[in-house]
Symmetry: C2
């Protein structure tokens, strides 16, 4: 039994005694306690692949910051790895794939991830669930197929993602074949996360914003929808960064919550997504301001969402150089200012 | 006298016998003729600073591709350099500032650029104007103050621009002081470009999309508006990439044309910007497709803009690895399909 189920009730669209709050990337570099664990290891991937330690850093922000949910410490790129494309995490630079997908025949070397893959993630979820002992819900997650696809084609981050986007024009059938494999892998992966203890799921479409609207509908939302249609065990949140134009289409999707980035306007989103819970959307840079400024920005954010079902969060992952004291102050402000 | 003034008439909102077309970054790496000039020199900056050669590469796409305007070959970062902050162009990586602005006292080392600065740009415009001999209009340009500011704080490109955005929260007065200096420098610079022969001006706000809407209004649009209010000699185009939310505010700005990126919907923009000419907005990746696909995408774009005053372009600069034959095909399609 959960002692604090605020976020699940908000996700179901219920009125809650206050607004629940958590932060994307709350388990990570902002906390000295995280860096101590991380620095004792050879690299980021060792932390992701060691269930006891992944569980430890997952729980840290619950205890230290007082967030209303834990999100499992992992990486969206475990899926391409399970499909046969290994990634490296380069310090201060980000992810890098030594081999990328270039031609249709490269797809023959990939496979759909199955239930034998990624057991370290499921193990980390089980340990976390046990150690949380019902304190707060546990969120599982995956990347959206389009975002995973982009990494597999580009081999890392990119300013324009022109290689990945090029394929949508030059060989859409190949693109759809790869997106389908990623989608199948992701559905199995998320279902196993629920079995292992995830109370909620979030799909991160980090590179949503680079696509023209028609392509976004065809090459991204279609696959996210398939995932949402395949999982009805727990509520799902979809966060499509930069895809402001897609909110009307999301209104008809089988997810419970839609995440907003800090460019999006909560007042507009409320009118479009009348039946969805909304999540977000403070500018992560607002946490660089004074406590007074953070308090005011938090109040403004809460006012923007009004009485619409709302899960407070930033509009993007918290930036690594943010003062954890300011993060805690933001969380405390949400709790205090939203209480009624 | 101009032999082809289609783009100026379209910018004034007049109906034209066909839609004029040019491409952002048309003078550049897509053309082998450009690369031949560039490779004969020590670096990118030598080309920017050598008026005869800058004029030569400015004219190349007019002759080779058949565009309806030339845009002077230069870089938006000549403004911070004229203010006292030197930039380097690192091959395949982009711009880099060895010194950046970190604290308020750093502003004391900067100055407002004056009419003695950047004479190589004015000289390049004069030569180009003469060599074009009225063939097509010549476009001058500058970066928007917010985008220039971002480079001066970050020292180069960035995924999140969190240093530049941080300053808007931590020291807005310092941010406004720097934005004001950049704006003053830019107004003088653009006026001199007009004196040297520019028939039109474009303001590029490349990093518009990273700001929350209130910040965009306060720290970017306000300064772009000041520039537009200060120059009435020639029509101005404002291209704020990613700032879809700002279109209603742009309706009241003293610019003639608003550029749309490929995420923006022309049908929506037409309703908001009833008195403005619209520019754009084919996805640059569409030029990786087959000729058949390019033709169809061009027809779709023209249909979206309908009978609204329109200057055809991509929704972003043309990507360097685009086949110039495909670029020419796109230009020919616009000319053919829009003729009436």
């Amino acid at each position: 039994m959960l002692k604090n189920d605020l976020i699940l009730r908000a996700a179901r669209g219920e009125q809650t005694e206050r607004t629940p709050v958590w932060l994307m990337r709350q388990a990570g570099r902002i906390l000295p306690e995280y860096r101590a664990v991380r620095n004792s290891l050879s690299g980021f991937k060792e932390l992701v692949e060691t269930p006891e330690l992944a569980a430890e850093v997952t729980i840290q922000p619950v205890d230290i910051l007082g967030v209303d949910a834990a999100i499992i410490f992992s990486d969206i790129l475990v899926i391409p790895e399970a499909m046969g494309l290994t990634y490296e995490m380069v310090e201060k630079k980000g992810p890098h794939f030594p081999k990328t997908i270039e031609k249709a025949s490269d797809l023959d070397k990939l496979r759909v991830a199955d239930s034998n893959d990624l057991s370290y993630v499921y193990e980390a979820l089980k340990i976390t669930k046990k150690e949380l002992a019902g304190k707060v819900p546990l969120i599982g997650f995956a990347g959206a197929p389009w975002t995973i696809f982009s990494y597999m084609i580009e081999g890392g981050g990119s300013k324009t993602f022109s290689k990945a986007r090029r394929l949508l024009y030059s060989d859409p059938a190949m693109a759809e074949r790869l997106l389908d494999m990623i989608t199948q892998s992701t559905i199995g992966y998320l279902k196993k996360q629920v079995e292992a203890g995830a109370d909620m799921l979030q799909i991160f479409d980090s590179w949503a914003g680079v696509l023209p609207p028609e392509h976004y509908s065809r090459f991204s939302l279609k696959y996210i929808s398939r995932i949402c249609d395949s999982i009805d065990e727990v509520p799902i949140t979809v966060f499509a960064k930069g895809a402001w134009w897609a909110l009307p289409e999301m209104a008809n999707m089988n997810c419970r919550t839609v995440g907003l980035d800090w460019n999006m306007n909560a007042a507009d989103a409320r009118k479009i997504l009348t039946t969805k819970t909304l999540q977000g959307n403070l500018d992560p840079c607002a946490l660089y301001g004074s406590e007074e400024a953070i308090r005011k920005a938090t109040q403004n954010m809460l006012d923007d969402f009004g009485d619409h079902p709302h899960i407070a969060n930033l509009g993007h992952g918290v930036y690594p150089d943010t003062d954890p004291g300011k993060v805690k102050y933001f969380i405390d402000c949400v709790k205090e200012l939203s209480a009624h």
